[in-house]
Amino acid sequence: MSTQLLEINGLERHYEMVSGTVKALDGVDLKINAGDRILLLGPSGSGKTTLLNCIAALDSPTSGIYTFEGEKVPQNNTEEMTTFRRENIGYIFQFFNLLQDLTVLENILLIQELSGGRDEKRARELLLMVGLEDEIERFPTEISGGQQQRVAIARSLAKSPKLLLGDELTGNLDSTTSAMVMEVLVEACKAENITTVMVSHDESLSKYANRVIRLDSGRIVTDDNL
């Protein structure tokens, strides 16, 4: 039986706009177990990115309860939220967001240094895992988009997060490269025993997930185990 990693109850996130209150999340209940590979699907404005941001502790919900490993996740305190992310969360961006002035290896080392410990051996192992052992001295501009996203995956794994989040992480890649990146991601997460939550519009990514959650108008409409 899988252990529960996080639990969300009645999560709401409202934005005050000139036109009125927008309910980006409107009472979301969710439990995620260790080892889940979740794909969040939904149309634009359905609230999937907002949910991802709340899970990542990038954003604080308007109301609701969010616990991670049984502990309440900090809200409205940027430093506590940052510490939570540093200790628990890995994040992959759509546009990779590698630091252009650092080599592939340095991009990983930087995160390690900022998180408290440089471990070059592990950094090299991660790059080997994502198939970039020959590119470690290259700069991001010298490698392809797919390779950059694989570096981003390695970077997100560098500090051994418990939960890896990805926001449209293949949105900037062609289908062949997307498939390659997703395979690398799945293999890496299996190897490192990391839970993943990915946001996407792309239904075809369902095959890399073991659970697909669909959102609409800030609510979970389906939650299917595959």
């Binding site: 990115t49 941001n53 990542a56 990038l58 954003d59 940027t78 430093e79 940052t82 510490t83 992310r85 540093r86 200790e87 969360i89 890995g90 994040y91 961006f93 759509q94 546009f95 967001n97 630091l99 252009q100 002035d101 650092l102 080599t103 340095e106 080392l109 930087l110 995160i111 240094e113 900022l114 998180s115 440089r118 700069f139 501009t141 970077r155 997100s156 500090k159 926001d167 449209e168 949105g171």
Partner: protein, 786 residues
Amino acid sequence: MVGVFAGIAFGHYAHTASTMYDEIYADSEDGINLPDIWVENPRAVWSGDQSDSFCEQISTQWPESELVLNECESRLILDGMLSIEEDGNTKLIPAIWHGIDEGYVDRVWMPVDDCCSGRLASADDEVVLDAHVTEGMEMEIGDTISIGAGHGMMDFTIVGTGYHSNHLNFAVPGSLFPADSGTFATGYLSSSGLERLANISSGSSNRLLIDLVGTPDYDLLSTDEVEGNELVELIVGIRTTMEGVSSTAIVYDRSGISSVEFLRADAEGAMKSYPVITGMIVIVAAITIFLSLQRLIQSQAKEIAVLRTLGIPRSAIMPGYILAPLGIGMIGTIFGVILGLTLGAPGMQAMYEDLIGIPVINGSVPYSSIAQIILITMLIVMFSGIRPAWQAANLDPLDVFRGQNEVRLTSRTIQKLTARLPTTIGLTIRSSTRKPIRLAFTFFAVGLSMLLLGSMLFMMESMEQMMVKGIEDNQNWDSQAFILPGAEDGVIDWAESNDADFELYILYPANPEGDSRQLMTIGLDEFATSGEDAMQVLSLAEGGYPTAGESTTQVLIDNGIAHFLGWGVGDFQSISFGSQNVEIKIVGITDGEISRTVYFHRSDLAEIVGFEATSVLLKIPEGVSSEGLGEVSVGIVEKQDLLDTFTDLMEKQQGFFIAIQFLGIIIAFVVLFNTLIMNLSERDSELATLRVLGAPISRLSRMMFGEHFAIGLIGGILGTIFSIIGTKWLMSKMVQWSFYFEIQADLGISLGLTAIVLVISLLLTPIGTYRIKRMNLVEKVKEFSN
């Protein structure tokens, strides 16, 4: 605004100084009709008959020249003293008394102003006291004063107050700094009054004042060229005439009168330096506008990209960014003009009046100069906007939407050099050097602002060092008693009867052979570079001490003479004492003298000039009053008074110095602030990424601290070096024969300047930290996904 303000303020000073110089000395009703040539007898006085006959001979033997003699007047000018009450005691202060009847040349200047009133002295017990004295010592018309000129003290009644060309810069002879109140006096007696005071025969004189028709060009000491060839040739001719009748006479033009030369140099220096200072400030302002515009474009990149995507042409985007600096410049200029005219110009005028001590008549900055300042400022401001405008118009919308427009990589060399460092440090260095041109501009602007600040500090410190070292440390005497040439016995008797140490001292004017520029020769008994043995300790920069009695007279020269004449240790040169040329061997070079000086052994110099002393240096035991010295000397200078004079001068200028220093710091802050904030803005994506990935604020702050420390330190060091080189360069442009001064790169000030830039830079770290803290990561992530 600051550039225009400074331009108008400094311009006002420069034009005022220049106008004052021209108008006071003019051959006009309001001017004092400054002579064009002076013939001086520094050793003695000529009798009335001699004076008349010399003028007659000069007139009849007038050299072949286009210059026409207008007037030759004889004049008697004597050293003396004024008795004043200070703290209940009688004090004798050095004075110079002129015998001036209602003459045609070199009149007393009594402008229509609160400063001056009364009439010229006509009776032989009347005196017009210099307005510097009456104002400083609160004397007024009708007061009776006790004065002397080597023949006891006599009472005179003040009948007027005014100024004289020789004392507009009211300095004790030998000094350039305006004398502190109660330390020096000058007055203008009738000829008969001065003759009575000095007990000499009627018609005696020691100056012939020669006025020419019009004002001929004269040689400027500040240039290598000879501007007044005609006048130089005329002086040579008159010198030849005088050689036949008085071998001791020296002949010179207006550059030989130190006050006249000081005002000319001040006006010339101000005229030269105000465009430089204004230009510097405007350039710094332009760099600031340039950097600010880049910041603006950076923040508006998305809007520009949207406009470009919607098909708005480049040509439609550019004008806005060219007009923006013009608008900013226009507003700044309007404020600058208003503040310059209402605060800057009156402030500088007040400083001139306070510093020189004479009222400004017709002080103004010409409209043409204001227009020029505005035009140049607007042009520079406009140029500062061209490149940012071009950059704005050429932004690639796709790059902007991808966030690639802000991505700049550091050079491969720096990437390689920092590869082995911890990544956080490597990234810090790389991100600091991503935009080397902008960084170079920033350092240049910081350098200029540090030049404003540093030049003031270095000059003040060097001047203070020179004065403190030159007077407090190097002058071991308490009082200097001036005597008529050869009349030292009375002072020696006084010293011996009061157990005072003394040393005879000769100060005598001369000039390099074939060169009309005047220098002072000094005769000393003892030469020393430290200790208490010698009354006057010298600062020997090169060579050794002279030996007395050599076949070729050995001397020390000051570094100003070495600089201007190219004379060096081991050289044989010739200097002229009137018509007598003396060969000298230079054995050493001294530093620390503002005026041009040649040091002789007194015995050697005495043989040349024909008397033993012109003054006596005295070390007076505690408790002994120098009052009795007045009976046996023609003037007494106290060492403490010289120090007070300098302190007073520094205090008077303190407000101005502080204002300039404050300006320098503000400009450095604004420039650094702009650049560092831009650096941070450009790294928003990087920093947001790191924050999303969990980088703690403390680590990012440390990275920023490292970056700001590096930029501050490098900027500070470069700014300090720039400041030292710039100040030395500025000073090299300002020094001239009568005013030579070397800037010392004081370590304390250099460290202070570096520290200021470093602190300014580090102050940006909390701002950067606050900025990161406030960063909306949700919005940033949204931007990353767009």
